[in-house]
């Protein structure tokens, strides 16, 4: 069953910013790409290292893995460059009562 978790008030995640949230044993990065919000698992599919704190480009809506440089599309979770070839998990973002929430499972 999907579960809804709260991230933060909408005004606390401005365009170009990222916030990490924890849910059970998962870490999830929530990104604001020019007003659109996306969430991906904080784990590079190449070698399982942390991903969300890599360089975030709000314009192209991508994040670069800090370990080996794979670039991930935040909208789809798909890698745009090697060495990663598998997508990372993405999570639906819901805005309710001026609060950012995630649907997790």
């Amino acid at each position: 069953m999907p579960e809804i978790i709260e991230v933060c008030p909408l005004e606390d995640l401005k365009p170009g910013e990222m916030r990490l949230v924890e849910w059970e044993d998962l870490e999830i990065g929530v990104f604001n790409c020019g007003g659109s919000l996306y969430a991906i698992e904080d784990r590079c599919s190449h070698d399982n290292g942390p991903l969300a704190e890599g360089e975030f480009d709000p314009e192209s809506c991508t994040v670069e893995c800090p370990r080996h440089g794979s670039l991930f599309d935040l909208k789809t979770g798909n890698p745009k460059t090697l060495p990663a070839y598998a997508p990372v998990d993405t999570f639906p973002v819901i805005i309710e009562d001026e609060t950012i929430k995630l649907e997790v499972e």
Binding site: E64, R67, H68, G69, S70, K80, T81, L82, Y85, A86
Partner: protein, 473 residues
């Protein structure tokens, strides 16, 4: 006939010093001081009048390079690399000529000595010749140009086809992939840009020849090959350098992209002198039903660390790595290959052979990965090592990761010594001992040399002969 053949072989036993180890006087337009800095990187970009995005790409890569520690795996010889003792950019000529007459006389003489213009006339569809940091000569056959084939040096590729370059550059090997890829991304210069349009078959090979002349030189070429659907291209590269007592560094990045149904074959005959550290990142992607083949022959250098890889991203894609390494006195050849099966029904082969002699060390380092969902994948890995004496060394570091049940994977490894009984058998037929050793070595590598174009197979056999005499480098 055999006597004539043997005589010929003896005649070509001129040593590396004479054939490749010579150097020209330095008559350069620009030679950067030793060491790497933001200023040097900016200067390279400025010299080339690059777009802003490339300049920023270089500077960001420089930060990655400086932030990463030197790798500690691979070879203890890596500790000898002194990044502060290298010239990162040397310009020998104003621009890349399209006829040999446009190439500066002394540089042209070098390539004449190496036989490049002659080879171009005889059997190549196009040639690029890089001297120090930049390409001094580039030509492709007119009929291929008319079909839309692009074969230019990478600097011209960026200038003339910026849209294509921007779309694919560093998508296969990002600058942060590893320390040496970051270094190349910061200071890259020269290399080839090849684009083959859909359905076009380039029947004759394209060749690039890389030559280092300066002492303590760093050569950082960047090659990008894009084969559109259903196309074919064979790219061949050769490399040599003068013999100096201090080190030079060669660190290339090569990216291959084979679209659905395309085939790319990439052949290397690496024959650097023994003062060169050869630390190269080569990687390919193969989409649906595409094929990528690396044929990688490593004879020269002080240390080579090179593991060409193929990412099989589309169903029924095929990857092939054929690798020969010959390690003589003072040399470490750490070579191998990586294949990643990331789609169903993909197939691959890795055949690696190493020969160690006079205390040389040959290592096979490989990765075979089969991802979850790549059902029906089939792969065979064979690595054989031949030790010619008691002081030499061979190591094998195979890694196999399989995350799918329905696959077929085979792995074989052998290490053999040239045995007394083999030598005795041949010598009892009147063959002298050194000739007998050569015959055994030639038989050992024959499955790979037969995959080379004839002219290169001949060259390869000559080089092996030289190595057997202990005279390379």
């Amino acid at each position: 006939m055999a006597v004539v053949e043997n005589q010929k072989l003896r005649e070509i036993n001129a040593d590396y010093e004479q054939r490749y180890g010579f150097h020209d006087a330095e008559n350069y337009l620009y030679k950067a001081p030793k060491g790497l800095s933001r200023e040097i990187v900016e200067k390279i970009s400025e010299f080339k009048s690059e777009p802003r995005w490339m300049r920023e790409f270089r500077l960001k890569a420089l930060e990655h390079f400086l932030a990463r520690p030197q790798p500690t795996w691979g070879s203890p010889l890596l500790a000898e690399v002194d990044y502060d003792d290298i010239h990162y950019f040397v310009r020998a000529s104003e621009k890349a000529g399209r006829s040999w007459d446009e190439v500066p006389e002394d540089v042209k003489r070098t390539f004449d000595r190496l036989g490049i213009p002659e080879a171009e006339r005889k059997f190549l569809a196009g040639v690029g010749a890089q001297y120090e940091s930049e390409v001094v000569y580039h030509q492709v056959r007119e009929d291929l140009e008319k079909q839309g084939v692009i074969f230019v040096d990478m600097d011209s590729g960026l200038r003339e086809h910026e849209d294509i370059v921007k779309q694919y550059f560093a998508t296969v090997i990002p600058p942060n992939d590893n320390k040496l890829a970051a270094l190349n991304s910061a200071v890259w210069s020269g290399g080839s840009f090849v684009y083959v349009p859909e359905g076009v078959h380039v029947e004759m090979p394209l060749q690039a020849y890389f030559r280092i002349n300066t002492e303590n030189m760093g050569q950082f070429e960047r090659t990008l090959i894009i084969a559109e659907p259903g196309s074919y291209v064979h790219y061949v590269e050769g490399c040599t350098a003068p013999t100096y007592s201090s080190s030079s560094l060669h660190s290339a990045v090569v990216e291959l992209i084979a679209k659905p149904g395309a085939r790319i074959r990439y052949t290397t005959v690496q024959n650097w002198s023994q003062n060169v550290f050869n630390l190269v990142t080569k990687r390919a992607v193969a989409y649906e039903e595409a094929t990528v083949e690396w044929v990688d022959c490593n004879l020269g250098s002080r240390l080579t660390m090179k593991y060409p890889s193929v990412y099989l991203l589309g169903e029924r894609a095929h990857g092939e790595i054929l690798s020969i390494a010959f390690a003589g006195r003072g040399q470490h050849q750490d070579a191998g290959g990586k294949i990643i099966h990331a789609a169903p029904n993909t197939t691959s082969n890795i055949f690696a052979k190493s020969i160690s002699k006079d205390g040389g060390r040959g290592s096979y380092r490989g990765l075979l990965e089969i991802a979850k969902g790549a059902h029906g994948a089939r792969s065979k890995v064979v690595c054989d090592a031949l030790l010619l004496d008691e002081e030499s060394r061979s190591d094998t570091y195979p890694t196999i990761r399989i995350s799918e049940d329905d696959v077929n994977v085979g792995h074989e490894a052998t290490v053999s010594k040239v045995g007394e009984d083999q030598l005795f058998y041949l010598m009892s037929h009147g063959i002298p001992e050194d000739e007998a050793s050569k015959l055994i070595v030639n038989g050992f590598i024959e499955p790979i040399t037969k995959e080379l174009p004839m002219e290169y197979a001949v060259e390869m056999n000559r080089l092996i002969e030289l190595q057997m005499e202990g005279s390379i480098g």
